[in-house]
Amino acid sequence: MFLFIGLLSLSGCKNSFDEPAISAGNADFTHFVALGGYFTAGFGDGALTYDIQKNSFPAILASRFALVGGGDFKQPLVNPGPGLAYDAGYNIISKLTLNISNDCHGNEVLIPFRSAGDPSNENWIGCATCPYNNLGVPGAKSFNLSQNTFGRNLYPPGNPFYHRFASDNVQSSTILSDAALVNPTFFVLWVGNEDVWQYARSGGIGDIDSIGMNDITPVSTFQSAYNGIISSLLAGNASKGALANIPNIDCFPFFTAIPYNGLQLTKAEADHLNATSNIITFHEGANAYVVYPPNSSNYYRQLGPGEFVLLSVPQDSLTCDSLGTPQHPIPANYILDSAEVNNIRTYTALYNNFIASVAAVNDLALVDMQSFFNSFKQAQMNNGVHYTNQYLKNSIFSLDGLYPNARGNAFIANTFIKSINSKYLSTLPLVDANSYRGNTLP
């Protein structure tokens, strides 16, 4: 009998499955190019990093396209390590990592911090391995894709993330001309985020209907730039591709992690504030933060529902230095007030309507990233793990609270795959998002 058991264990007894069919459908993935901004480039943990570039959603898509005839997928990779990021003065800094430290109350907390950057990441890698298939450039707005000044070393209008790999970074190349070098048969395009998000990230300090770094691009400018990109891509061999729309900011922890009424007061603290301020009445428990309106440091007000405190605010000052009280109102560049939120919402909707109409007119796949990010307002179960849009906790977002970690990129890639499969009748398999790395904890 034991011999029989042994034989059963070692031999036969395999259950075989039918091989699932994998096909490209009507699409041709031979030469694939991805265009976009932060989301497309593989930006996360506040920097362009090797780890997330390797797992950028276009790279994950390319790994699936490779099953059905997709060719090489080259990316302008930075070195492994601290990645590439810039402070406001264009000094190189590292990505964010988490440290354990003690706050002023003696509680252990996780603090994201940056250390020294890797200056060699700024070096021009040019055409060493070009043409590049991932032309996502952090900070690229719709109208930057056809500007030959965008790759030059005067920042701005030049962009250091493009300057380092533009095929001609002295004079003439543009992101679109570099895309043409790929001779693409299939493209994904996710531009427009920066056109409104740069304004959102900077606390609404820019203008609307203007083209400065922190402004919201005029709708007409966005539309003509978008049309220009599409005609440039369709002028080559590519007649097929996928267009992604722009998510709302209210599902990103950078905007939502700190609640507008996050000022927690004891009875004594509330009494103390009430004794020194006769404008606002505080009470025990949760109170709305006190902020300065834009361009003002003379008077202050309390935030209301639907307004946001940005994650860029000095959080130790919130906890320990009375930031957010009448003693230290929060400066306007850390706040999105209701007028600013309304601007962002309005332009996002206008851009998205246009993107949808372009997809319809040109018979391209439309990837609804707005719905995708909205869905994470409720925890999403995936292979036994609950994913949230909270900051750090089981999150699809990296340590910057804005851009996805490798896991988040895998979910985004799956959303593209579903949309492409549906549009082009391809049968590309999804990826197992759980097998991609989430946030690294200390």
Binding site: M1, F4, I5, L8, S9, C13, K14, N15, S16, F17, E19, P20, I22, L67, L98, I100, E108, V109, L110, Q380, M381, N382, N383, G384, V385, L392, K393, N394, P429, L430, V431, D432, N434, S435, R437, G438, N439, T440, L441, P442
Partner: protein, 406 residues
């Protein structure tokens, strides 16, 4: 491209959270006929199969045996698939005794394994955050008393003392620079009670049986979960404790079985059995944490009843040898969308065969084999874990036993 993914798991066919059949191997003679013996009183295993029928046994008897259970489950993931293979046979056992008292009373005693789970996937497989390993051992101890009302009709009943021990391990989704994921291990044990009653009727060459086994709720009050490989950052963020105590329960469904046996001639007996396992009355299993209430969760539940139809036969080849065969069709109590890799159940078709050999006066050696073919189960819209894929299981049971009558 090769996309054949093999995950081999081992579990004895009935399961903690839901899998619909009794083990089929509590008696080796019954094993050969499909796992049912409600109408046929063959040996001391009748205490299990129909407690009412022991009063119709003519002699005192003992039976003991064990079986080897070898389930092979393959999982095809909808992504790339990883090879995963694990073969660890399980050996459920049983012991029965029947002793004739005076005045038409008969007493019986049974110790057996009603349900066992033994599932083990590779630690890094796609479903690691749901289950890496799941084990449950159970034991029933049951005294019985039966009464022969007349030569046609007998009845019997007995209390059941049930014991269970469970263990489960799954990965925890936290990563540091040195750890890919953490681990959680749950352990618990406890006892419960039930009862069993049966009725047996013989008329000429026809016998009819009815056996009822109540629901058994086994309370697991000493549950402990132990977390390991949890980065300090996760402890700060989530407040993950190193250990936490919980209370839970295992519920075995009530089962009603009825069967008819017909002796065509002195050599050949045909049987038909039907059983209903009341899984629909089994609720989700709740894990109630005593001090860490945020960890409390529930899973399972929402089952269908499980129906089994069995056709069996035995043939007296000569004075010493008896051959048996059986067929069973059975539905899965696990609804579409509720499949779990802890116990990948499915509708199934079962066939079996067996032989008995009369070695010496009163001493019989029994052997049986059963093959259970599960229908392929495709989870494409999994509600429980959003864990999709295709499962296929084939399960082999080999049984060996002896019985002695005096």
């Amino acid at each position: 491209m090769k996309r054949r993914i093999l995950a081999l798991i081992l579990f004895v066919p009935t399961v903690l959270v839901a899998d619909g059949f009794h083990m089929n191997s509590q008696g080796i003679k019954a094993l050969g006929m499909g796992g049912f013996a409600t109408a046929t009183a063959n040996d001391a295993s009748t205490v299990f199969y129909n407690v009412g029928a022991i009063a119709h046994l003519k002699q005192n008897t003992f039976a003991a045996g064990f079986s080897a259970v070898l389930p092979y489950t393959s999982y095809l993931d909808p992504f790339d698939g990883n090879s995963d293979r694990n073969v660890t046979p399980s050996f459920p056992f049983h012991f029965y005794g029947v002793y004739k008292l005076k005045n038409k009373f008969t007493t019986g005693f049974a110790v057996f394994t009603p349900y066992t789970v033994n599932t083990k996937w590779e630690d890094d497989w796609a479903g690691r955050y749901i289950v890496q390993e799941e084990r449950m051992q159970t034991l029933n101890i049951q005294p019985a008393l039966a009464y022969e009302i007349n030569e046609h009709l007998s009845i019997g009943a007995g209390p059941i003392l049930a014991w269970a021990h469970t263990k489960r391990r799954h990965a925890v989704d936290v990563a540091s620079s040195t750890v890919e994921f953490g681990e959680a291990e749950y352990k618990s044990s406890g006892t419960g009670f039930g009862f069993n009653a049966g009725l047996h009727y013989i008329y000429n060459n026809i016998s009819i049986g009815l056996n009822y086994r109540s629901m058994q709720k086994i309370k697991l009050n000493n549950g402990t979960v132990t977390y390991s490989d949890i980065p300090q950052g996760a402890v700060i963020l989530e407040g993950t404790p190193s250990t936490a105590d919980y209370r839970s329960a295992v519920t075995l469904p009530a089962m009603i079985e009825t069967g008819i046996a017909y002796n065509l001639n002195t050599k050949f007996t045909a049987t038909f059995n039907f059983s209903l396992a009341q899984w629909s009355k089994v609720d989700a299993v709740s894990f109630d944490f005593v001090d860490n209430k945020e960890l409390t969760f529930a899973e399972g539940g929402n089952y269908d009843d499980c129906l089994s139809f069995n056709l069996g036969g035995q043939y007296q080849y000569n004075e010493r040898m008896v051959f048996r065969a059986g067929l069973v069709v059975e539905n899965s109590p696990v609804k579409d969308g509720y499949g779990s890799p802890a116990s990948p159940d499915a509708n199934k078709f079962i066939y079996s065969g067996g032989v008995s050999y009369l070695w010496k006066q009163g001493l019989t050696v029994d052997g049986g084999i059963m093959i259970q073919n599960y229908k392929s189960r495709l989870e494409s819209n999994n509600v429980s874990y959003n864990f999709n894929g295709e499962y296929k299981t084939t399960l082999y049971i080999l049984g060996l036993g002896i019985s002695y009558a005096f």
